[in-house]
Symmetry: C2
Subunit: 189 residues, 2 copies
């Protein structure tokens, strides 16, 4: 996706450990126009699929998922990372390890909001080691819903998440795949 | 806002301590159609104002802010609650006490994304004791930006947040104000 790659090259910063920072348009400040282009592109890539719901994970997946959902005309459900008094007691749970934050946390989705037989599209901002998506896949399995595919804004192709997901036979659509970072420059696949 | 109040009455649940749960359309599962109606309503209420940016706070403000931002045609910036390696070192900070979670946490906005003289609209999902909004107001003051107003989806009128904000002379637009909960029923103001 050309407009996205252009923005990553113009504004993306490389932090320690090949972390790609896209705070200026995706993760802290959000460019709504670009997000709409991203939403349309997800719809174009999954246009022949019947999708009932988009599943994402807090925090940074939410903005992308809700904008994209407008093109699919479906609700969004986001997995919660924090325990809250307000969350239902009946939840599907999984654990996720975050390498950037170096913690393992529990993610939860209320059993009310994903129902057996529904067709689910997972959307998230980043795919690196793939731990967040694997947590969502685990919840999808427990809930006996149908996974249609996974839509990712930026895949770090030099980490193993994408490979692992594709090897499971899951359809993975990444709008920008970073092949490598060379001398502080981002090179797309 | 009629459609919103209808949904709150139909699907809102009262949890312990007069917590109003709207997980089925706002805080866990998200109804995109209703969110668009909410976004349009915010635009209608602030239609004569020049707004450069919408400021919100993770997690549950994000979905509403990005959908609303489409009607204002401006970017969204969301304050972060969690310390992250990826966040800039130069931030405006404040602290917020959460009564529902009984913790005090630091919120941060990178100095890059709110700039002196900009016209800011704050949007959030709930207003109860008003601690989250007060934290954002504190950041706005530190950043020397102009506050145009505060847009809230559900205000709990029986708690002091709304009163405190209005007493400061700040324009507060709440789309639904819950006057009280009586015998498990929600009564709007």
């Amino acid at each position: 996706m050309k407009a996205l790659k252009k923005r990553i090259l113009e504004e993306g910063a490389i932090a320690h450990g090949n972390v790609i920072k896209v705070d200026s348009f995706l993760n802290h400040q959000i460019d709504i126009e670009l997000l709409n282009e991203i939403g349309k592109e997800f719809k174009a890539r999954f246009q022949n699929e019947k999708i009932d719901k988009i599943l994402t994970i807090e925090v940074s997946g939410i903005a992308i998922a809700v904008i994209a959902a407008q093109y699919f005309n479906v609700p969004v459900v986001f997995a919660k990372k924090t325990e809250s008094k307000n969350l239902d007691k009946e939840t599907y749970e999984s654990t996720v390890h975050s390498y950037t934050k170096n913690i393992t946390y529990t993610i939860r989705v209320s059993k009310k909001y994903i129902n057996e037989g529904e067709n689910i599209l997972i959307i998230d901002d980043f795919l690196a080691n793939g731990k967040a998506v694997e947590g969502l896949l685990d919840i999808i399995k427990k809930a006996k819903v149908n996974l249609i595919g996974v839509g990712i804004v930026i895949e770090k192709g030099f980490q193993k998440g994408g490979k692992n997901i594709r090897e499971k036979g899951i359809r993975l659509e990444s709008l920008a795949i970073v092949d490598r970072v060379e001398d502080g420059r981002i090179i797309f696949r």
